[in-house]
């Protein structure tokens, strides 16, 4: 690690200051783009697993109220860790936010329990769905309402709403969730999160292991939820293509750092994103020799 970073301590410090400034500018950019104060903002957090493994090295991002924000990157870039840092699920995996802060609706939330955060309206849909296999689909949905105190009628009402968004769940309501298809499980997981009446959903890799048409279906529902219910989404995805079609703003994470961010449209038009994330390039494929140039550029960005 030390070798790669290079430069003396002074230079590194200067770089860090620059990066922090850049982060602040980014944050303002995203909020301004939505025209509102961000509902969730992450300020320069660092996450360490098991006291030694540094996974996030200063990530900052903003999720505007009522927007869909994409968090993109390859395997191991730190997308899931970022989401778990927000939802406070890190502690159960011996991870820790060691620097920076996370604010949700203007309050710091990095010391809360996961259930406190759910109560405040921010819930995570975990990667790989994680339905309760031995519970029926309906029971799964009802567990989502665990933190609610507003009575049976309101919960029944929301159950109906979830069934309206996901008609397939209504058909399968009495089957054991473990025996439903992958798409139905993803719907079940999103529906379960909706039952907590969230204002913000942290959606981790909804496209994982699903057929393209199902992915499309699920993203359509996410968009509908965003439009009709005003739920804000922070969406971690590897499928850059579809994520940038539905998101309004995007951040690209590499090796635990935000290397690029911007309006979804701008990111889609960016040459580097096109080449390295969308798999299309301009007129002719570049030779691999030029990858070096990109790496240099990447380091500069980082």
């Amino acid at each position: 690690m030390g070798n790669r970073a290079g430069g003396g301590p002074l230079i590194r410090l200067q770089l860090k200051v620059l990066r922090d400034m850049a982060n602040i500018v980014h944050a303002e950019g995203a909020a301004a783009a939505a025209g509102q104060a961000p509902v969730l903002s992450i300020n320069n957090i660092e996450v360490i697993y098991d006291h030694v493994i540094l996974v996030l090295k200063g990530v900052s991002l903003d999720v505007p109220q009522g927007g869909i924000t994409a968090l993109l990157g390859a395997n191991g870039a730190g997308k899931t860790t970022t989401l778990k840092a927000v939802s406070n699920l890190l502690k159960a995996e011996r991870g820790q936010v060691t620097k920076g802060s996370i604010t949700f609706k203007g309050e710091r939330v990095d010391t809360l329990n996961p259930n406190d955060l759910v109560r405040r309206g921010c819930i995570q849909v975990m990667e790989g769905r994680h339905c309760f296999g031995h519970l029926s689909v309906e029971e799964n949905l009802l567990t989502g309402a665990f933190t609610r105190k507003d009575g049976q009628a309101a919960i029944a009402n929301d159950l109906e709403m979830v069934y309206n968004y996901f008609p397939r769940l209504r058909e399968r309501r009495n089957s054991q969730a473990g025996y439903t298809s992958g798409g139905e499980q993803q719907m079940c997981a999103i529906g379960r999160a909706l039952m907590s009446k969230p204002t913000t959903i942290l959606l981790d890799e909804p496209s994982m292991g699903l057929a393209p048409q199902l992915v499309e279906e699920i993203f359509e529902i996410v968009k509908a939820l965003n439009d009709n219910e005003g739920v804000s989404f922070l969406l971690a995805e590897q499928n850059t293509n579809i994520a940038l079609r539905y998101a309004k703003y995007g951040y690209i994470l590499e090796n635990g750092r935000v290397v690029m961010d911007g309006e979804a449209q701008a990111l889609r038009d960016n040459e580097d994103v096109k080449e390295f994330y969308l798999g299309v390039s301009g007129e002719n494929r570049r030779s691999f020799r030029n990858v070096k140039a990109y790496k240099r550029r990447k380091r500069w960005l980082a």
């Binding site: 699920l89 329990n113 955060l117 819930i123 296999g133 009802l142 989502g144 025996y179 298809s181 379960r192």
Partner: protein
């Protein structure tokens, strides 16, 4: 030939000749079975919610019974002692959650298992230093449990049914029904099953593991208290009782670690099985069959149906 006759014919001839005695044996097997079921139930509760085999369940039975008798001997009226004991079990549950489970969240199962062994010795020491090591009499009458017996005369013979045994069976049925309703119909019960399925996902939807664990250990504590009262009334309240609790292990292997109906059926199988075997086949193998019968049955189950009769199938989609 003699051997075959003794194994396959003679016992049934005996049963046919003395049907009243057979009834008596079946009844005592049934009572023993319900008590085994009760102990197994305590294990199942905790295993379902936290995936831990709670080695301390046996000592919790003893500890609950000792506390009850000890508080009564201090001069509390029986009903107050009972309520206070329930309170002590609640405190124990909260304490275990705070001091042991919370610190060990997401550690490998074996570490949690070791922690429950540690808890066992802690409770033995605590119980002995507070209440002393000598056996005590359970306060059966003071708690309003019936004594005496009723005799029937079916088939011209004699069957004696002790009222205490009837009370034990009724209590077991009430507890099990109560727990089943709690698990399947209530919000907390649903959360308990959710935690049993997937800890992480339960955390992510806002279920507080700490709260759930405390509740589960409390429920197991109540079951332990009921078991302790019943076993204590049949023998004495002493630390030897925890050996009986180990019988729950074969019960669980037969019934499945995650199933409440399994715990009940498994308990009954062991209860009936060991009594019948002891009385009618025991003489062939020398006596003392009751001691190991359950473990042999469990071994056979491990060979042919390791998840038990009602164990949760591992759901695998293909």
């Amino acid at each position: 030939m003699d051997i075959l006759y003794n194994i396959f014919i003679d016992p049934f001839v005996q049963m046919g000749n003395a049907p009243d005695f057979l009834l008596q044996v079946l009844w005592s097997g049934f009572v023993g079975g319900t008590l085994y079921s009760l102990i197994a139930l305590g294990f199942v509760l905790i295993f379902k919610a936290s995936g831990v085999f709670n080695f301390a369940q046996g000592i919790m039975v003893v500890f609950a019974a000792l506390t009850l008798v000890g508080l009564y001997n201090l001069g509390l009226p029986a009903w107050l002692a009972l309520i206070a004991t329930i309170g002590v079990m609640a405190l124990l549950a909260i304490g275990v959650e705070r001091v042991v489970l919370r610190k060990l969240v997401n550690q490998p199962d074996i570490i949690l298992f070791m922690a429950t062994i540690g808890l066992t010795y802690f409770l033995i020491g605590l119980g002995e230093s507070i209440f002393g090591g000598e056996p005590k009499k359970m306060i059966t009458e003071e708690l309003g449990l019936p004594s005496g017996s009723t005799s029937f005369e079916p088939f011209g013979g004699l069957v004696i049914i002790e009222h205490l045994d009837v009370a034990a069976v009724v209590m077991a049925i009430v507890l099990v029904t109560g727990l089943a309703i709690f698990f399947n119909k209530t919000r907390i019960g649903r959360a308990l099953r959710a935690v049993a399925d997937d800890h992480q996902a339960a955390l992510s939807v806002g279920i507080s593991l700490n709260q759930i664990w405390a509740i589960v250990w409390f429920a197991a504590g109540i079951v332990a208290l009921a078991t302790g009262i019943m076993w204590g009334a049949k023998s004495d309240v002493s630390f030897a009782l925890q050996i009986v609790a180990l019988k729950a292990l074969p019960v669980l292997i037969i019934g499945g670690f995650t199933s409440i109906p399994g715990a009940i059926i498994g308990g009954l199988i062991i209860g009936f099985g060991e009594k019948l075997f002891e009385i009618y086949w025991g003489s062939l193998l020398g006596s003392g069959v009751e001691g190991w019968f359950a473990y042999v049955i469990a071994l056979i189950f491990l060979l042919f149906r390791p998840q038990g009769l009602f164990g949760e199938k591992i759901i695998e989609r293909i």
